[in-house]
């Protein structure tokens, strides 16, 4: 845990505590919810690196507390999550996802502290989403995020919303360590990140977003200016020439303009995300879009079947792409979401993505069901295949895995 976010929220907590004391108990309501997950992963292939193992087990926990008071005008929230992993020290970690105070006044809302903010509409790739840093050790899909210290002001006149963000502290992406899997053949140098900004982690980033809806259309325009959340991974030779080179994360300064569109056409949901963005050398364009549709009660059963089709485009050349942690430059994603509508709430999501340039492929399946009212168990599997060395996916071609997990809710 980086200490900076903690320090920066001391102010927020102090303000919050003072307000809390002053607030009394007018319409106050507090909620506390927790969950604990036991997880085991089995990797299909062994690697050449003897430090890596073919299986690991971990225990993860998350808790969230919210306190509403002052006729629900004010709220304090705290969310913590952590994990203990049997193999990878980098995967044993904890994080403050939320520690913030929020004040709502008419159509305006101010929040100060650590928080999580989600931008975006597509299913397979989160292109526009950029406020929070990604936690890739919890899950390789990039959907897990780290708490971000921020001051957020939101103005909501009717059917649209203006949001302004000041992000005073930068957090590095969490990636697997030397003993961890899903990192590719090269090892990442831990704690050796390089920054384009001289302020490094203290560079103040700014962002704004305008979003709204009318009829069957929904849109958002966003702008971000600051240190890129996704690093470029640069090859760095080691002191010992017999050792393979290592990877060093380089966090460049960027600006990103993002567009999100959703269009509801009957039972079809059309989606588009596009960004124009600058890295340390060039401006580039990337987009992802597609549709989602659902059939209910398939074949007279209680099953619902959803179909997801998305295309992903990125106009950077392959050398630049290779340095990115996750990339989709000419990829087609096909997905099926099956909802059982049974007592156990059985769900299954199958995604298949195919890189049309390199033939790299990823297939994933996530299925889960409830056991009683307080438990949920799931199975997850990911299979990678890459036939070209220039494809980022090929670094994972030895990382196929199966995962079992069981969560208890409190």
């Amino acid at each position: 845990m980086n200490s900076n976010p903690v320090r920066s929220t001391i102010f927020a907590s102090a303000v919050a505590a003072a307000t809390l004391t002053a607030a009394g108990n007018s319409g106050a309501q507090s909620r506390w919810e927790s969950e604990v997950t036991a997880e085991a992963r089995w990797f299909v292939q062994a690697t050449d690196d003897s430090r890596q193992a073919s299986q690991d087990q971990s225990l993860a926990a998350a808790t969230r507390w919210t306190f509403d008071f002052d006729q629900r005008k004010q709220r304090l929230s705290l969310a913590l999550n952590g994990r203990l992993d049997s193999q990878d020290g980098e995967r044993s970690q904890w994080d403050i996802g939320e520690l913030n105070w929020r004040y709502r006044w008419r159509a305006a809302e101010l929040s100060v502290g650590i928080d999580r903010v989600y931008w975006g509409v597509t299913e397979a790739l989160q292109l526009v989403d950029t406020i929070n840093q990604t936690n890739r050790v919890d899950s390789p899909d990039g959907q897990q995020k780290l708490g971000q210290p921020m001051i957020r002001l939101a103005l909501q006149p009717g059917r649209s919303e203006w949001e302004f963000f000041v992000l005073p502290v930068f957090r590095e992406q969490r990636l697997p360590g030397s003993r961890g899997r899903l990192r590719g053949p090269l090892q990442l140098v831990e704690d050796a990140a390089v920054f384009e900004s001289r302020d490094e982690r203290q560079h103040v980033d700014l962002a704004a977003r305008y979003s709204g809806y009318a009829g069957s259309f929904e849109w958002a325009l966003s702008y971000f200016m600051g240190t890129s959340r996704a690093p470029l991974l640069q090859l760095q030779p080691t002191d010992n020439p017999l050792q393979p080179p290592v990877l060093r994360p380089f966090y460049y300064l960027t600006d990103q303009t993002g567009l999100e569109l959703t269009w509801v056409a009957g039972s079809w949901l059309w989606k588009l995300e596009a960004i124009s963005r600058r890295d340390d050398q060039q401006r580039y364009f990337a987009a992802t879009g597609g549709f989602e549709t659902t059939w209910f009660g398939v074949g007279g059963s209680s099953l619902d079947l959803g179909l997801i089709v998305e295309y992903q485009y990125d106009d950077r050349d392959s050398n630049r792409l290779l340095q990115s942690v996750s990339v989709a430059n000419d990829d087609l994603v096909l997905g099926a979401r099956i909802t059982g509508n049974d007592f156990a709430g059985t769900e299954c999501l199958i995604l298949y993505s195919y890189d049309r340039r390199s033939n790299g492929r990823i297939a994933s399946i996530e299925a889960s069901r409830r056991f009683g009212a307080k438990w949920r168990g799931g199975i997850e599997a990911r299979f990678f295949s890459g036939q070209s060395s220039i494809d980022a996916l090929s670094v994972f071609s030895n990382e196929d895995f199966w995962q079992l997990e069981l969560t208890r809710f409190f």
Binding site: E218, S267, T293, F409
Partner: protein, 267 residues
């Protein structure tokens, strides 16, 4: 004797005469006009409730002796110009708690719907045919729980019948918008124009589900709300009992709380 017969012959007319408090309802009008007139009047009598909230408990029966329970809360905001806005947020089972479902009903077009997923802090727009999907694995579809805007159906007044001793208007209504049903038969009581029973017919025209509504309570001396809804799927044998408690009115909820961007702090 003759006099008595005369009175008996007059009885149906007398019954109709009582209904002059339903504007546009007249024996000389067409069944379509009369059916719609009752629906319009039922909706009018519910005008002005402002906002309301309630706790909902749902018990699902699978027809083989097993049952499970669900808990959620609802908040509704009346919109004078357009359809109402409703948020359903789930409390139990634990794995879906915090999930919220927002509907903006519209009188003349498909509803706008959003789902809030707390794990990702994400608000997702949902295609409008989600209406025919099962609500939390129950026998209720999202469509069944949506607000019954008058213009979402065309009507045909069938006649007056007694339903378990309660005099009711028997009306057929056909969805004008995309729907999981070809038609519905509804029974609305004469006394207070409350929806007492519904028969749902699937797209092939076969009876799919029956709904019995009861345990009504009166709020603010004007607004009737059901305490119990019992849905039976006659094709599968599955049943759902939905009970409503803790109705609260006029809590000063504002439209801003019913915007998709506010779903993350609704609870």
């Amino acid at each position: 004797m003759k006099r008595w017969l005369f009175l008996a012959a007059l009885m149906p007319l007398a019954a109709l005469a009582v209904d002059t408090d339903i504007p546009g309802f007249d024996a000389t009008n067409s069944p379509a006009e009369n059916g719609r007139a009752i629906a319009v009047e039922a909706a009018r009598r519910d005008d002005g409730f402002g906002d309301s909230s309630a706790a909902m408990t749902m018990v699902l029966f699978d027809g083989r002796g097993n049952s499970v329970q669900r808990a959620m809360r609802s908040r509704t905001l009346e919109q004078s110009a357009n359809g109402d806005r409703t948020i359903l947020y789930f409390e139990d089972p634990a794995d879906v708690r915090g999930t919220a479902f927002l509907t903006h009903s519209h009188a003349k077009r498909s509803n706008d719907q959003w789902l809030y997923l707390p794990a990702l802090r994400r608000v997702k727009r949902i295609a409008s045919n989600q209406r025919s999907g099962a609500f939390m694995s129950s026998e209720f579809s999202y469509e069944d729980l949506g607000n019954d805007e008058v213009d979402k159906y065309t009507y045909r007044y069938i006649g007056e019948v007694s339903l378990d001793g309660v005099p009711c208007y028997h009306i057929e209504r056909t969805p004008t918008d995309k729907s999981g049903y070809s038609r519905q038969e509804v029974w609305i009581d004469r006394e207070a124009l409350r929806l007492q029973q519904v028969h749902y017919y699937d797209r092939r025209g076969a009876l799919l589900k029956t709904l019995a509504v009861g345990d009504f309570t009166l709020h603010r001396d004007q607004f009737w709300r059901p305490g119990r809804m019992h849905m039976i799927n006659v094709q599968t044998g599955r049943e759902t009992v939905l009970t409503w408690e803790d109705y609260l009115f006029d809590q000063g909820l504002n439209a801003r709380e019913f915007e998709p961007g506010a779903l993350d702090d609704i609870r």
